[in-house]
């Protein structure tokens, strides 16, 4: 399959299964809501009876932001932990949805909600095992990034070349993003492999996928980057439209809220596009080659 065919068919698959985005969106919205509530209560406590609230609707007040960080330091200090715990739960629930989504994408005839949930239940445990392995790989990638960073700091501590330092650090940054991309590709394709082939040996599948992707890296990575760029395009459009929405009066914020939810839904659709294109590529690359050479047979007349 060509890249163009993959993207077209992938987009078509997402379009036919667009209803599932509601589940992803619902989960995302609920997760963000849980995390927003503590912040909302802090803001309500601080601003609901204050004239400052009105001022903040019209202009920034960085002094106030510093104060709120100081006044609610204990609550805000606990926020990252809450975020990490909720992210953990989010990932576990997402595994459930992803299992269902890949099952449905793999078998387009079965695009009912029932099939989706059946797939989710069936593959959840193996996808969760994979998640644990991938988290270890992410940890190693960040550790490698740390070591790389320390090396750069050590080297440039005695070198009068700020541009060199900047470029090396930028390269490190890009390299980290590349590593994250590669790990996401490994993770996605292993999920696909586990579901498509209905296999349970996670580590073995992961190693198979690494082999497969390294052999077909160009094609796989090209599609990955193109889909990511389409996603980036959404952010650009959002920012361009966002500028057009006036900051006041404050009810324009409702319009901004709608626009933001459109961006979130778009990003989730892009996530689905990643899976759909990856399934197509995976199936294409792992398809058995059947010898279709016509054989001449003696015709008995």
């Amino acid at each position: 399959m060509t890249v163009k065919e993959i993207l077209t068919l992938g987009a078509r698959t997402v379009y036919y299964n667009k209803k599932f985005v509601i589940l992803f969106w619902g989960m995302n919205a609920a997760g963000a809501l849980i995390l927003t509530l503590p912040i909302y209560y802090i803001l309500a406590d601080n601003l609901n009876n204050s004239i400052l609230g009105y001022k903040l609707l019209n202009e920034y007040d960085f002094s106030w932001l510093l104060q709120i960080k100081f006044l609610y330091a204990k609550n805000i200090g606990q926020f990252p932990y809450l975020l990490y715990v909720l992210t953990g739960i989010y990932l576990l629930v997402q595994n459930f949805f992803v299992g269902g989504l890949i099952a449905v994408f793999h078998n387009p005839q079965k695009n009912h909600i029932v099939d989706f949930f059946y797939g989710g239940v069936k593959y959840w445990l193996r996808l969760t095992r994979l998640l644990l392995i991938v988290l270890v790989l992410f940890y190693l990638a960040f550790k490698l990034n740390d070591i790389f960073g320390n090396l750069i700091t050590w080297y440039y501590a005695g070198v009068e070349n700020a541009m060199g330092d900047f470029l090396t650090r930028s390269f490190r940054y890009v390299f980290l993003l590349f590593l994250i991309g590669v790990l996401m590709i490994f993770s996605d394709y292993t999920k696909i492999s586990l579901v498509v082939n209905d296999r349970t040996k996670v580590l073995k599948e992961l190693l198979e996928v690494i082999k497969l992707t390294s052999v077909n890296f160009y094609k796989i990575f090209t599609v990955f980057v193109i889909v990511a760029l389409i996603g980036g395009l959404g952010a650009v459009v959002y920012n361009l439209l966002g500028i057009l929405i006036p900051a006041k009066p404050y009810y324009y914020l409702i319009l901004l809220f709608v626009l933001r939810q459109m961006l979130i839904i778009f990003r989730l659709l892009i996530k689905m596009l990643f899976y759909s294109t990856e399934i197509l590529i995976y199936k294409d690359l792992t398809a058995k080659v059947i010898n279709v050479q016509p054989e001449e047979k003696e015709v008995i007349t």
Binding site: A44, N46, N49, L52, L65, E160, R169, S170, L176, I264
Partner: protein, 656 residues
């Protein structure tokens, strides 16, 4: 030998003097002799009381990273008391080992270490020795203070001549003094034995603290500095000429009416000369020594220096010296952001749009030290707030006047500035962030530092006794800046600058103390601000004024309950907003609470304590006001932003 040396110096003096006049005319377009003497405006000479004069002959040897120095000091006893000993600051010895007061904060690797290697000390021609005096019980081996027993009394108006010969290796800089790595750049500060201050019959001579500077008397400084041919020298004072020889260049600098001397040498500087014309038409020579990679910042550096000069001339007082030198230090040097008489050091980030106010604010801050500590030479070891606090305040005012509000940024890959706020990042990857142009107030940085340490120490505390760097930063930089801002908001800008002008004129070329500044303020305000200095300066009081409620008691009658939660007292305006008007009340802020009962036919909307935010120390601006009807719009709107950022963060995490 001594005669020969002096003869050579004399010949050099006249030879270089001739060259200098032509050089100055070329730069300033003026005959400087008409206006200046020894680098100081002739109109100011009478105001200076020179106590310690210094003459240096210095050879820089880059091969060994060391200097060879002949130093001659003439110290005059201008006090009412006799002295039989002289105390010296030997601040380069702070870098001797990890047993010095300085090393309590900056750990010294072998490459960061050095000490004076003194070969000769003569007092009035008689051989003498340093006796080291360690004043800090925790660091008995600290040798940054020493004394010489004179053997006879130096009576008032007598003088003594001290000659010292020494070598000093210039270490890799860990802070202030030292050389850069990867480039030939030497920043030479606190490099010579410097006489302490003989005050009220006793010597004030403190060890070298890690984050404090120095205290010394005014004098005339002259330095003849010999460097390899390809080196340029930037130094305190006016360059009075250069002698070129086959292998060496010899620079001569002179400055009258200063209390320290620092210099820098490098074969990698780019030199730019400029001038600033005072309102009376006289000219200040501006020397810029810039790293080649930062030449793109030259215009911004120049504008920042000129704006600072203009601001001070218009609001506080005239810069009295002939020359101002700015040294842009390499990134591998730890000498950036330092101030010395007529010279200061800066640096700039690789990428820095003007809206970030960097390097402009650093330039403005370091320049402001020319006044606050340079000309108003307070004891920085005891009252650092008098220079750091005032410099911070002045720099903020300069930024407000010439550059407007700065924009918040966070950096990608350690260098690339992005406008906005980064609330949470992991491994340098922003997780929860907002990309938008968010302006900040110049004093916000001080607010942020103040909130890290509300109560440990007060501005009035002796700086060198403050328990740690944070306490020092809060009480020397942040709180004094906020105090001066609050003072300005109470008095109005015009009165505030009138006070600063008066303070400057009264104490220039002297050693003012905190009490002197307060006296000047009180003289301008009829003594009405005692409460202010008691609460803000003398103790670490906490301020929080709150409106607990505003309610309707009966038709057209209302009750407003104001509360003082903190222990700090600050008289406040109280505004009551109605649909058509604002009712203005005043509360002296002393009682724990105050109830205002009032009647109005208008619809009452809300009330506010301190509506102009005069008290920047108030810990909660939001509870200063109260709305009669609860409004959810702000908390919902801000939460909606937060909600969106979290949705994005979850999608990013969900990609795993």
């Amino acid at each position: 030998m001594k005669f020969f040396t002096l003869s050579v110096l004399l010949v050099l003096y006249f030879a270089l003097g001739l060259v200098n006049n032509e050089l100055e005319k070329e730069i300033t377009g003026q005959n400087i002799e008409k206006y200046y003497s020894g680098g100081l405006l002739k109109t100011e000479i009478d105001k200076v009381k020179n106590i310690a004069d210094y003459l240096f002959k210095v050879d820089l040897e880059p091969e060994t990273h060391s200097i060879k120095v002949d130093e001659k000091i003439v110290w005059r006893n201008k006090s009412r008391f006799s002295a039989n000993e002289i105390y010296f600051h030997l601040y380069a010895n702070a870098y001797k080992s990890n047993n010095t007061v300085f090393s309590g904060y900056y750990k010294l690797a072998p490459e960061n270490r050095t000490e004076f290697q003194i070969s000769k000390i003569l007092v009035n021609g008689t051989k003498k020795e340093f006796i080291y005096v360690s004043k800090n019980k925790n660091y008995p081996q600290d040798s940054t203070v020493a004394k010489i027993m004179l053997g006879k009394e130096i009576n008032p108006d007598d003088s003594v001549i001290v000659e010292i010969q020494y070598r000093l290796k210039i270490p890799v800089s860990v802070k202030r003094f030292g050389r850069a790595k990867g480039v030939n750049f030497y920043f030479v500060s606190q490099w010579f034995p410097k006489v302490g201050v003989f005050e009220n019959g006793k010597w004030i001579c403190e060890p070298y603290y890690p984050y404090l500077n120095f205290y010394s008397d005014f004098g005339r400084y002259e330095a003849v500095i010999s460097v390899p041919k390809n080196y340029k020298v930037a130094a305190t004072g006016t360059e009075e000429g250069i002698t070129f020889s086959a292998k060496r260049n010899i620079f001569r600098f002179v400055q009258n009416g200063v209390h320290d001397f620092a210099w820098a040498a490098s074969d990698n500087f780019l030199y730019r000369k400029e001038k600033f014309t005072r309102r009376n038409g006289t000219v200040i020579r501006l020397d810029f020594f810039i790293q080649p990679g930062r030449i793109k910042y030259f215009e911004r550096y120049k504008n920042a220096v000129k704006n600072s000069l203009r601001f001070f001339e218009e609001n506080i007082g005239e810069y009295p010296y002939q020359t101002l030198t700015m040294v842009d230090v390499p990134r591998t040097s730890a000498s950036s952001g330092m101030e010395y008489p007529t010279l200061f050091t800066v640096s700039a980030p690789l990428i820095s749009p003007i809206e970030t106010h960097s390097p402009e604010k650093l330039v403005a801050h370091e320049f402001s030290h020319q006044y606050f500590q340079g000309i108003l030479a307070n004891n920085e070891v005891y009252e650092a707030w008098l220079d750091e606090g005032f410099a911070s305040y002045a720099a903020s005012k300069i930024m407000e006047k010439y550059y407007g509000k700065g924009l918040l940024t966070f950096k990608l890959a350690g260098y690339y500035p992005v406008y906005g706020i980064n609330f949470l990042s992991y491994n340098e990857i922003p997780v929860i962030y907002s990309i938008e142009k968010i302006p900040y107030n110049e004093y916000d940085r001080s607010l942020s530092v103040y909130y890290k340490n509300l109560t440990l120490g007060s501005i009035a505390d002796t700086s060198c006794k403050l328990p740690g760097r944070l306490s020092y930063r809060v009480n020397s930089y942040a709180k004094p800046e906020l105090m001066l801002y609050s003072l300005e908001r109470i008095l109005g800008s015009e009165k505030m600058f009138g006070i600063l002008r008066d303070y400057f004129n009264k104490y220039k070329f002297k050693h003012p103390k905190g009490a002197d500044f307060i006296r000047v303020v009180q003289s301008h305000t009829g003594g009405g601000l005692t409460w202010f200095f008691e609460n803000v300066y003398g103790k670490s009081a906490l301020f929080d004024y709150k409106i607990k409620y505003l309610k309707k008691t009966k038709k057209d009658s209302y009750k407003l309950f104001c509360e003082r939660i903190g222990d700090g007292v600050f008289p406040v305006d109280v505004f009551i907003y109605t649909s058509k008007d604002t009712l203005r009340k005043f509360w002296d802020g002393r009682a724990r609470w105050k109830i205002f009962e009032f009647s109005t036919h208008e619809k009452v909307l809300g009330a506010e304590i301190d509506p102009y935010r005069k008290n920047l120390f108030d810990l909660n601006f939001a509870n200063n006001s109260f709305l009669l009807s609860t409004s959810y719009s702000a908390s919902l709107a801000l939460s909606a932003n937060w909600y969106f950022w979290l949705q994005n963060a979850l999608i990013n995490f969900g990609g795993i």
